[in-house]
């Protein structure tokens, strides 16, 4: 396999894609299906998620084009060049174009769209051509049956060289991994990715799992995030609820999802809706303060205050977390307001912050929140 010079790759695990122009030789449904399977071929081998959008800018913009279509790589009519895609990056990066002059098919009679799409998405994810004739990333067309398709070993090695292996993820330190999919319930070093109230429950997120805790700490066990939030899958960065609106917000990378209870509302949007500067690529934690109707967003050493009534970021932010919340040590992983206190989760510790005393009044183990 080959990667591109400089090894361009996506710095996030959830990518959006949008089909902006369809072909005349296949139904839109067939195109959607072939594209979905083409992307799945890669997310089956590496920690990647793909979310389809139907409006605005997506990471991977997909279209069927003819001849010269404005990207200085004109198509050449039937046969010859079938499609091309651009390496990961802003703007044209990741975009994928198919030659509309070809006879596209879901079978063998013509060029199988799944086969070509899966190859092109390899480029959109950062792989160049492979000189291994058995590889999907080999330059010339060779029919692949979409059902039961297994990514050839050469391509698996290439995509995992860029994004790590499924489940552990390259970006995670190669520490001892939990034997099962569920985090060790009572690991004394347990930390959370995100915590939020949702209705009369408290949700605590960790990697691919989450705990749902009711007021009384009845027996509690982790469930797969995918079972209740299929779009989120894993590694939720932050979450909060505006109870009076009955709406919750879940953040992952530069995207967020809105839910009513566990029901996701529509497609992901970008965090820049809240007014974040473009250099902010992800949120570490978020907490909604009921009385002031403000939501605090924590990003690295700073925090922002968002006015839920005006739906606008407050002026004079970001401010330093240390200045405003003395006593809370380390990066903030998660935050939640319960009974007027703000609880900050930082690694294995949970800090109880009294906003009136403007000080930390108690510190417990994070794992005690799930009954340990």
């Amino acid at each position: 396999y080959h990667v591109f010079p400089g090894e361009p790759k996506w710095q996030k695990s959830t990518l959006t894609y949008r089909i902006t122009k369809y072909t005349t030789s296949l139904s839109a449904q067939d195109v959607d299906r072939a594209v979905e399977l083409g992307l799945k071929a890669w997310s089956a081998a590496a920690p990647l998620n793909f979310v389809k959008t139907t409006q605005g800018e997506a990471d991977i913009m997909i279209s069927f084009e003819s001849g010269d279509h404005g990207d200085s790589y004109p198509f050449d009519g039937p046969r010859g060049t079938l499609a091309h895609a651009f390496a990961p990056g802003e703007g044209l990066g990741g975009d994928t174009h198919f030659d509309n002059a070809e006879r596209w098919t879901t079978g063998k009679n013509g060029f199988n769209l799944f086969t070509v799409a899966a190859h092109e998405f390899g480029h959109a994810l950062g792989l160049g051509h492979s000189s291994d004739p058995s590889a999907l990333m080999y330059p010339t067309y060779r029919y692949q049956h979409p059902v039961g398709f297994q990514l050839p070993q050469d391509d698996v090695k290439g995509i995992q060289a860029l994004y790590g292996t499924k489940g552990t993820g390259k970006e995670k330190p190669a520490g001892p991994q939990q034997p099962s999919n569920n985090p060790d319930q009572c690991d004394p070093n347990l930390s959370f990715d995100a915590v939020t109230v949702l209705g009369n429950e408290l949700l605590l997120f960790k990697e691919r799992s989450f705990w749902r805790r009711h007021a009384q700490l009845a027996n509690i066990w982790p469930s797969p995030i995918a079972s209740s939030f299929p779009q989120l899958m894993s590694n939720v960065d932050a979450a909060y609820e505006v109870a009076e609106r009955g709406t919750a917000y879940f953040f992952k990378g530069p995207h967020y999802w809105t839910t009513r209870g566990l029901q996701t509302q529509g497609l992901p949007r970008t965090i820049y809706d809240f007014g974040f500067p473009r250099h902010v690529q992800k949120i570490d934690a978020a907490v909604h303060l009921k009385n002031s109707r403000k939501t605090l967003f924590f990003v690295g050493d700073d925090y922002y205050s968002y006015d839920e009534t005006r739906r606008a970021m407050e002026d004079d932010y970001p401010k330093s977390i240390d200045d405003e919340f003395p006593g809370v040590e380390g990066n903030i992983d998660a935050a939640v307001e319960v009974n007027g206190f703000i609880y900050f989760f930082s690694g294995p510790k949970a800090y109880k912050y009294d906003t009136e005393k403007e000080d930390v009044v108690n510190i417990v183990k994070s794992s005690s929140w799930i009954g340990c």
């Binding site: 010079p5 079938l82 030659d99 330059p139 067309y141």
Partner: protein, 84 residues
């Protein structure tokens, strides 16, 4: 001007043109070559043929032969083979 191409067997001039386009598209170290430059760079064409033959595991001769042409005629992806 006739392309002073080194080839090992009689090759149809259309095929030679196809080969030039193919090599400029997939084995150029720089953007698409303008027509005017085509005649002057036979040496670089031989170099590109070598690169292509090596990539596809063909016999590396630097000369345009039928097996090299056969690969050039296969439907393929529009991205260059040189990961540039």
């Amino acid at each position: 001007a006739p392309l002073r191409f080194t080839w090992s067997q009689p090759i149809d001039w259309k095929d030679i043109y196809t080969a030039k386009q193919y090599l400029d598209k997939y084995y150029s170290d720089r953007g698409p070559v303008r027509v005017a430059e085509m005649v002057a760079d036979d040496v670089s064409m031989s170099r590109k043929i070598r690169k292509m033959q090596k990539f596809y595991g063909l016999q590396v001769t630097g000369k345009l032969d039928q097996s090299t042409l056969a690969v050039m005629k296969k439907p393929r992806c529009g991205m260059p083979d040189l990961a540039n």
